[in-house]
Symmetry: C2
Subunit: 398 residues, 2 copies
């Protein structure tokens, strides 16, 4: 069957070169990298090469990278790690209201432990207002976490500006860059951040490996306590094959980034233009320009996102309706709520995430199959045809 | 070169069947198991099969298994997870003084957060005394963690008896079974435990995957907050290939356990008998009978463990000098300190961990190469030949 996989933000295949790089580390070179003898020290060296490649992708120093098991773990480590390490300074954390669940729920966990959390509102594009952040910071604020790019609506936040506000006030600044690393240039110095999370799986490494960049001045309480792996910042025997794969994926991502951006942006623009032309009453969510190049997100009026996804799957087209890990948990995406989108419109959320492997032919295939599917679903909808504004309000308070 | 790898407790190769089971899940079946569409739901089903196999190995219900990234993470999740969930009940935790660093340092982390921790002493075999545990429990005790078997000295603790004492007092009981699962029968009901940690890597699954068993009555605060993966108990996209590999390794381990025990015990007994016969002034550490069948640990008088290890490596023999993750961090093992072993003797610690793949010929090879190596090192030692008792005392207080 013809088709198009356009859900790369939720998963992407492991790249051939990556798997090849990993394979020797399952059985032939299996030793524990903490061992003092040759079998172990050789593997430790290979881990350090992978660390260099991951660091290089984001213009960091290898000593500033700690490997984790996922982007979610990196987010937890950043927020809880700084909060626990700095609790003598204060007990207040700030996150935006459109963060990944791993950030939101880390902040909520801290609230249960005598910390206070502020969930910053965003505008209708999902942007955090720097002036609003400045006002939210208190003397007892220890960390601010605002994502680089949002998985659901693609919007890229003004990170360097937000980070500067924090730097001036001696507040640690973390950004979740899981959605952006490999999709858009990410430079920890240009972004001016103290901590940055990334995920291997997003780059074509296997699931089960992520990393946290941290500025060396930042004190970090480990999330997983134990042995001295990762310089005492993350215990547990290293996921050697995963880390080796992550290193290879990072090296490839760095090399291919400019070409990739160019390719996916063209396809994305073709998709967006086609949908807006062929389908009426559709809202292109997120910021029109300040967004990930391979990311297109829509809300189709009078359509239930999950129904649309299932109809598209029947045509071999794979898309998403919000963030992957929330898809089973929630009826309406909190991100779309936070940008003030009408609840019934938010239910029609559909996210396309495009990869280097996608082709123009696939986009054209989607543009052929999508409009009749939308028409059919709307013909069954009791609310189709009613006049209602797209957004409840321009900016929403919490 | 002839040789023998006898450091299976620190790492063991991924089994052929395990890697074969994993391979399709890197690239061909790469979707996110949280996705609502067919590609994702199929993978979710395979994860559930793996969960059943892991549960079956320890006689648990699949719904009582949460996958983690390592045994260390499982230990952190158990201790912190119960402590945070039960903090209204109390703020006291108890662990033995010979626990893995991931248990000891989780307890120390809680001490920084207004919890109190008791580190229970052990006798010269490393055994925890049930009467002493009973005395240490306070009304505010929320969890006790005592390992099933110790990696460094092989001793198996009287878990069901210790767990019963906790059950009677409404205290959660956790055991770190990373060293025992796959090496000796482990049945969560027979052991009577509320929580039990295990590691995939110990069974011939790849590094990067572990699991925590939990009794359904136990409330557990997640360690990694975020999405609803693992029924909300552990966020982050699942390490799909790792989990599939863990499932296969668990199924094989269950099938092969009786034969394996028989095989490694014979080799171990041959090794112990040979060493005690051929080498003078050597202490067989840990309990002589209540110990892992494939585990032999010694302290050679007047020898530095690391020097012995390097000399053995020159003969292709791989062993360990204490727990893998501590080998670079510490000069003298805290486990050997806790059993009251003389400091200079403890420095001569050498641990042999035997696997199904090892042969009688390999043991004989070790018995041929080890004694002259010991002789050579002793000939260089300034303390060799002096008379000193093996243990400082029979039981040691903290």
């Amino acid at each position: 069957m013809e088709g198009a996989y356009l859900d790369h933000a939720s998963a992407t295949p492991v790249r051939k070169e990556v798997l090849e790089a990993m394979l020797p580390y399952f059985s032939a070179q299996f030793a524990n990298p903490s061992n003092v003898y040759d079998l172990g020290t050789k593997i430790k060296e290979t881990i350090e090469e992978a660390r260099s490649n991951v660091a290089s992708l984001i213009n960091a120093d290898p000593a500033q990278i700690v490997f984790t098991s996922s982007g979610a773990e990196a987010n937890n480590l950043a927020i809880k790690g700084v909060a626990f390490a700095r609790q003598k300074k204060g007990n207040h954390v700030i996150v935006s209201s459109i963060e990944h669940h791993s950030v939101l729920n880390s902040a909520r966990f801290l609230e249960r432990l005598d910390f206070e959390a502020t969930f910053l509102p965003v505008d209708k594009y999902g942007l955090v207002d720097p002036a609003r952040l400045a006002k939210a910071i208190r003397p007892e604020t220890v960390i601010v976490s605002i994502m680089h790019a949002n998985t659901e609506i693609g919007t890229i936040e003004p990170i360097s500006e937000l980070a500067e506000i924090c730097k001036e006030r001696d507040v640690a600044f973390h950004t979740d860059a899981v959605a952006s690393v490999g999709n858009t240039p990410v430079d920890v110095h240009a972004l001016n951040v103290d901590l940055l999370s990334l995920s291997g799986a997003a780059l074509g490494a296997p699931k089960g490996v992520g990393a946290l960049y941290f500025n060396k001045k930042i004190r970090l309480m480990p999330l997983i306590h134990g042995g001295i792996q990762e310089n005492g910042r993350r215990a547990g025997t290293e996921n050697v094959p995963g880390i080796i794969g992550f290193g290879m994926a990072a090296a490839l991502a760095k090399k291919e980034l400019p070409k990739r951006i160019d390719h996916v942006r063209k396809l994305r623009d073709r998709l967006v233009e086609g949908i807006l032309k062929k389908v009426e009453k559709v809202t292109y969510t997120g910021h029109p320009e300040k967004r990930l190049p391979g990311h297109a997100s829509f809300c189709f009026e009078a359509i239930e996102g999950e129904a649309l996804i299932f109809m598209l799957v029947q045509n071999g087209i794979y898309t998403n309706t919000g963030s992957a890990c929330a898809s089973k948990a929630l009826k309406i995406s909190p991100v779309l709520g936070a940008i003030g989108l009408r609840a019934d419109l938010a239910q029609g959320s559909t996210v396309f995430t495009i990869d280097a492997a996608n082709s123009e032919a696939e986009i054209d295939y989607v543009l052929e199959k999508l409009p009749p599917v939308v028409d059919r679903l709307r013909s069954l909808s009791p609310i189709w045809g009613k006049e209602i504004p797209e957004y409840e309000s321009d900016a929403c308070e919490h």
